[in-house]
């Protein structure tokens, strides 16, 4: 940990410690490169061993939920891009789903398939970004160059489709704004077919890499019952052995028609979470290929359902969620019948998964904390909102 930049303040404390040394309080972040944003963790360490880790968040709090209440329903969509800013499509999706639920809208099949395509591309790009940064945190710099090569293609496809690479703003209540551009599906198919070999390349670099295995196996274990107690969803939950995925558990859009598996791990450690995410890349690829087939066979059709000119859901409440790359991303909408949400709450998977960090980190070395922060896959824009 030669690059460690946390400030050190010695706090002598009485009592027995593991090494018979004094415990020390250590600030990890908020400007540490491996915290992937502005996350501060107050550590109590006994030598190199973590006695307690207390995350301190809120550095990126922008009052998004307050802003939601001032915007009309369509104007909320760009704000959702900025929650988990590396997975804007799934954010858009969860939000439009909840409004559609309260309006009782059906959306056209073609729009459903295009939404799923965007979601799965987003999942791939988010997992690639995770793989790049998690590996770089542990000193493996090469996967970064490999994964960003593929992520770039996805971002180019997004740019072609909606003009933006990160903050996509690509979905609308009732469907989509834009039809696919000519030749887009063919480009996507070419990329997707190649992707299988690229994933093999990442695996060649890491899966049997001795350093990678030493740094990840047995690190940050969180078993299924503890995951559920902490509300942890997404890859960490699946890596603990529970095959639970919103796309299957509470299906939305055309997922029931698609053939894919839910990868699971069994040791619930950082290495299994890595394997699960790699397997999810392959499953997303499978889904994309099926969607490409369907969209090629059905090249035309409505992409937006019958939507009122002014969106005013009836007074009431609803919750809808999608499987975002980080876990269950949900929106809880309370409407009073007006043209703006009366209350719109985000159920942020990053925020809730981060809560399990102290339990995962306890007893590990300080350098393992870097692996554990990486393995939860947080995005601070979503943690702090």
């Amino acid at each position: 940990m030669s690059e460690f930049v946390g400030t050190v303040g010695a706090v002598p404390e009485a009592g027995d410690t593991m090494l018979g040394l004094r415990e020390m309080e250590l600030n990890f972040g908020p400007q540490h490169p491996s915290t992937h944003g502005v996350l501060r963790i107050v550590l109590k360490v006994d030598g190199e061993r973590i006695v307690s880790a207390r995350p301190d968040i809120g550095y990126l709090h922008r009052g998004t939920e307050k802003l939601f209440e001032t915007e009309t329903y369509p104007m909320v969509i760009p704000h959702t891009d900025r929650l988990d800013y590396v997975a804007a499509a799934t954010n858009n999706h969860a939000y439009v789903l909840v409004v559609e639920k309260l309006l009782g809208l059906e959306i056209p099949k073609r729009a459903q398939y295009i939404r799923v395509v965007l979601d799965e591309m987003q999942r791939i790009s988010s997992h690639l970004l995770w793989l790049a940064t998690a590996a770089i945190d542990l000193g493996a710099i090469t996967p970064f160059f490999y994964t960003f090569r593929e992520r770039e293609v996805i971002l180019d496809l997004f740019e072609d489709y909606c003009g933006a690479r990160l903050t996509l703003n690509c979905m609308r209540v009732g469907g989509l704004e834009e039809e696919l551009t000519p030749g887009w599906i063919e480009r996507l198919r070419a990329f997707t077919e190649d992707l299988g070999g690229k994933i093999d390349e990442y695996e060649e670099l890491l899966t049997e890499n001795r350093i990678w295995k030493d740094r990840t196996i047995g690190v940050g274990i969180l078993k299924t019952d503890r995951c559920i107690a902490w509300g942890v969803t997404g890859p960490p939950l699946r890596a603990s052995g529970l095959a639970w995925d919103i796309r299957r558990a509470i299906p939305y859009e055309c997922y029931p028609e698609l053939d894919f598996e839910i990868p699971t791990g069994k040791n619930a450690d950082t290495y299994d979470r890595y394997l699960v995410r790699i397997a999810e890349l392959r499953q997303s690829r499978r889904i994309l290929l099926q969607c490409c087939d369907w969209l090629t066979a059905n090249p035309t059709g409505e992409i937006r359902g019958k939507v009122p000119r002014v969106i005013k859901p009836p007074a009431g409440e609803a919750y809808a969620s999608v499987e975002s790359p980080k876990g269950e991303l949900g929106f809880y909408l309370v409407s009073n019948g007006g043209n703006r949400p009366y209350r719109l709450r985000v159920r942020p998977p990053s925020f809730i998964n981060l809560q399990a960090l102290p339990e995962m980190a306890r007893g590990h070395m300080v350098s393992d904390l870097v692996a554990i922060i990486g393995t939860i896959d947080i995005v601070l824009g979503e943690v702090d909102r």
Binding site: I57, G58, K101, G104, A249, P314, E317, V334, G337, R345
Partner: protein
């Protein structure tokens, strides 16, 4: 936000979700048609506009009412999601029952809604999930008065810890018995609770963090202080 007046909340009665049709002027189309929408219209299949219906006879609601007497205040169903109104005094008991006996082991979400003029002012909302009951979900709702403490469920589901801290921070609802009730998203000396409806959207200039020599520790300018300004 002067134009907010026309969207002013038609605050529903305590423990009772908003009914469509109450804010009649605001929803001409939605409120008028829930029953009239023909299921088989010529247009692409259109689901009827969701409306709240009574759910008091649902097995789960009946079982909860029998197991924890006095807990169930109301039960409504909307968009195929059930909402059970719970009496604040019976909340923890009801949650324990739902977790231990009805297998709602997973607390998906916990949040609050500010109804400003209604009494009780706040709804604290719980969204539970059961893996064993085929991914069934149920929403609990507790009416909490201003300045009234809500009992904590952090002892039932550990994940409620941060969610309750967030509600405490942003709404100012305190949770009785919470192990670590501190602000979580705003900073420790922050004044006010941003998600309350009477908190200005433009924000407040608390000043204290930037000018420690000018403002008292842990507090910003008082509401009538000329140094207090809004951003826009």
């Amino acid at each position: 936000m002067a134009e907010d007046a026309k969207d002013a909340p038609a605050a529903p009665a305590a423990g009772e979700p908003a009914k469509p049709g109450v804010p009649a002027p605001a929803t001409p189309a939605a409120a008028a048609t829930p029953k009239a929408t023909p299921a088989k219209a010529a247009a692409p299949a259109k689901a009827p506009v969701p409306a709240a219906t009574d759910a008091a006879s649902e097995p789960l609601v009946v079982a909860l009412a029998a197991a924890v007497p006095g807990a169930v205040v109301s039960a409504k169903k909307m968009a195929s999601q059930t909402t059970i109104g719970i009496a604040p005094g019976k909340l923890v008991e009801a949650c324990r029952h739902l977790k231990d006996k009805e297998t709602f082991t997973f607390l998906v979400d916990l949040t609050a809604v500010d109804w400003k003029e209604r009494d009780p002012r706040f709804d604290v909302v719980y969204w539970l999930h059961s893996f064993d009951r085929g991914n069934e979900r149920v929403r609990l709702r507790v009416g909490i008065k201003d300045e009234q403490a809500c009992p904590t469920v952090a002892g039932v589901w550990e994940t409620a810890n941060w969610m309750e801290r967030e509600v405490f921070d942003l709404f100012g609802i305190s949770f009785e018995g919470h192990p670590d009730l501190r602000r979580i998203l705003t900073w420790d000396g922050f004044q006010g609770h941003p998600l309350r409806k009477d908190f200005p959207v433009e924000g407040i200039d608390t000043g204290a963090a930037i000018y420690p020599d000018r403002y008292p520790e842990g507090g910003g300018p008082a509401p009538d202080d000329k140094n207090r300004k809004t951003v826009s």
